[in-house]
Amino acid sequence: MAGCWNSTEVEDLALFSILGFDWVHSGDKDEWLVSALLIDPGSSGKADGGMSSTSKETGEKLLQGKGESIEKAVENLTQNTGRVPFWGGIVATILGERAAQEKLEDFMNLKMRREGARPRTFVMVAHGRASDVLKKKPAINQSLAQELNKMAELRMHNLGISCAITSADFAAILLSPDRDAVATGIESLSEVTNTANPSSESQKSGITLAGMGVFVGDRLSGWLSEEETMGYVLVTKKIKRGEMIIQIPTSSGNATLKLTQSRPVIHASVTGERVNYAISIKAQGVVEELGGRELTDAEILKFEESAGKRVADIVQKTVTKAQDERSDFLGLSENMHRWKPSLWKTVSPNWRTKFQEASISIEAQVMISHTGRIGKKLEIKK
């Protein structure tokens, strides 16, 4: 909003929807490459006076700018367009893998100072370059921004295989003295040729939110797989209306469990030099798919037991990953800081090492609220 002073008509604004930041090697030097998707409701697919934008026929345009500093790159983004940048409508900012590894501080400083960008925008890390993600077409939605927004919300609330992180969350953790950050991972899917109509341009099948990027301090150090992300969600979030799908091995093949509720409790203690954390997870779920068999009470108990084991197993993988990466993104140290401040005082000088060496026990209880059977198994002739 510029106000009456230098007021700008809407069509003169560059309304950004997604920003991508890459730290790239070009020629013999490194520089910032900032890519932006521009919402352009007026012109659908019409090239705009030969400027360097790629029309995507979706009402979105891609702009790019390069510069030695991130500020310069942002300036260059709009200098050829004759438009005034507007930051208030940004859905997500995507950080390229290399930028996240080497230049997070520059990025955060830009983000925090541009007060126009709202604190609720998502922060995501791309596998590879952010600019590649921005070049993709949305699969079903009108715009990539819309798609990203819906995907983040759906996956966050339901499946637990990804988790939306707002820039306020992200910044709060980066600034805190006791926790490491994660950011939603985003991947551009590879190109698939449209077999039905091979003459058409190969269909770019879009983007997917996949796992999460793990940070140690101010650099990206690794990635969580979808299952490890599930573990992260189970340890850090209280789930109230989830649809987390977990496969449970049983004697008669895999069964599908849908976790609907879950609550983590973390307990920190210190014995001698060693820090102990006890993570206990209480969850509730629905058996979705059991091949039509009926479960007896005894079987349900047995099923609950193996489901608990499976959940603990998932969490264990995430914990192992966290300790391997030396990144306390699970917030265990933060938990100690909050609930056991006197212990934290002895641990805080080298909390990451203490976390890495900590013994972490995991316990999970799953209660089956009902089996999702609604009819008899279909008997199909062989």
Binding site: M1, A2, G3, C4, W5, N6, M112, E115, G116, R118, P119, R120, T166, A168, A171, A172, L175, S176, P177, H337, R338, W339, P341, W344
Partner: protein, 377 residues
């Protein structure tokens, strides 16, 4: 029309405001800028305990100031500070003290205007030059002050419900985002950082000292302490809830990093897809600042008019506006410097004028047995 005020020689209408109006004026004056500028400073100092910083010490400071002002008022009814300072201290030192207060009030107004400019500049009207924002605010304040205290008080009565509603909106909408564990651990650094942080809200609460200049215009003087006390309690509640909400949503580290945490909170909250209510909220916030600025300018004029005894209040208005305008332009600092001044320098200066000097004056009055005694002789 009250005779004694005409004797005061400031030539304003003998306006009276009620005790409730006074309480509303004081409340809006303190909270209008306080909710925006204080939480960032207190969270930097007291981290997750910052919400406690606005509770006790500032409230007590405010009460003491209110009590001292009330006591001075009892001893010199129908007179204001520039008048009785000369009685208590003698002509020379009394005038000196009044000049000191005039400079204090001038700088107080300059800071309020600059705070307004910085905020609106950063938050919304980024392309509008600061001088344009300052001029608009000063014109409004000048106009309201020219109309007198009663008009400002009625304005405050109108704004108050809007102010409280918008504030409650932010608090209510932030509930889904609240994570109470962010407030832990309590008193991690002991009591010292908390006391250090308390100085800032204490200096804000101490602003009720402006009563020194319009106490005789309150129609029921005995209501000043109880109603003023309620106003202070409301301020403590607002400051505390404000900081509490910000910390439990953003955590102490991010709250301290934001320049205006409460504004960031208003941008963060959403309720079932309703977002971007911050512009509406800022609109109402700005009206609070107009009242603060108007009251500040009014008080400055009263102080000057009474310093020069037989000068009419209306004749002061224009020169005072020019001087204040010049001071605003001269005092050219960036946001960071302004925050540093508000955090480091201004609390000490203002507590000097809000607490120390009035206390000293009252003490000296008691020692020298000046003014009317409580027995009412």
């Amino acid at each position: 029309m009250i005779k004694s005020e005409l004797e005061g020689g400031i030539g304003i209408k003998a306006e009276k405001i009620s005790g409730t109006q006074m309480a509303i004026l004081l409340f809006l004056m303190v909270t209008a800028t306080g909710v925006l500028f204080v939480p960032s400073i207190t969270t930097q100092r007291a981290k997750q305990d910052a919400w406690l910083a606005s509770l006790i010490l500032p409230f007590i400071t405010g009460l003491i100031v209110l009590w001292v002002v009330g006591q001075l008022g009892k001893r010199f009814p129908s007179q204001t500070l520039p008048q009785y300072a000369e009685v208590i201290l003698g002509k020379g030192p009394g005038k000196l003290l009044s000049v000191g207060y005039i400079l204090f009030l001038l700088f107080f107004n300059v800071l309020v205007i600059r705070e307004f400019g910085e905020f609106v500049n950063i938050a919304y009207l980024s392309k509008t030059p600061a001088w344009a924002l300052h001029t608009v605010l000063m014109l409004l304040a000048w106009f309201a002050a020219a109309k007198g205290l009663e008009v400002i008080a009625r304005l405050a009565q109108f704004v108050l419900p809007l102010f409280i509603t918008s504030f409650s909106f932010i608090l209510l909408f932030s509930i889904p985002e609240v994570e109470p564990a962010r407030l832990l651990p309590i008193l991690e650094g002991g009591i010292r950082p908390l006391l250090y942080a308390s100085i800032v809200p204490a200096s804000w609460f101490g602003e009720v000292v402006v009563l020194l200049f319009f106490l005789p215009q309150i129609n029921q003087p005995h209501e000043v302490l109880p109603l003023g006390g309620w106003a202070l309690l409301a301020m403590a509640l607002f400051f505390t809830l404000d900081t509490l909400a910000t910390i439990s949503v953003f955590g102490p580290d991010l709250s301290g990093a934001f320049t205006f945490p409460f504004w960031s909170l208003s941008r963060y909250i959403q309720l079932r897809g309703i977002e971007r209510i911050d512009a509406f909220i800022v609109l109402i916030w700005v009206s609070g600042v107009v009242i603060k600025s108007a009251l500040g300018f009014y008080v400055l004029n009263v102080a000057v008019a009474q310093l020069f005894k037989n000068v009419s209040y209306r004749k002061i208005l224009f020169p005072a506006a020019v001087v204040q305008g010049a001071a605003v332009f001269w005092f050219n600092v960036d946001t960071f410097q302004l925050m540093e001044i508000l955090a480091m320098v201004w609390p000490l200066v203002s507590l000097m004028f809000e607490l120390v000097l009035p206390l000293g004056l009252l003490g000296w009055t008691i020692v020298t047995r000046k003014g009317r005694r409580k027995s009412g002789s």
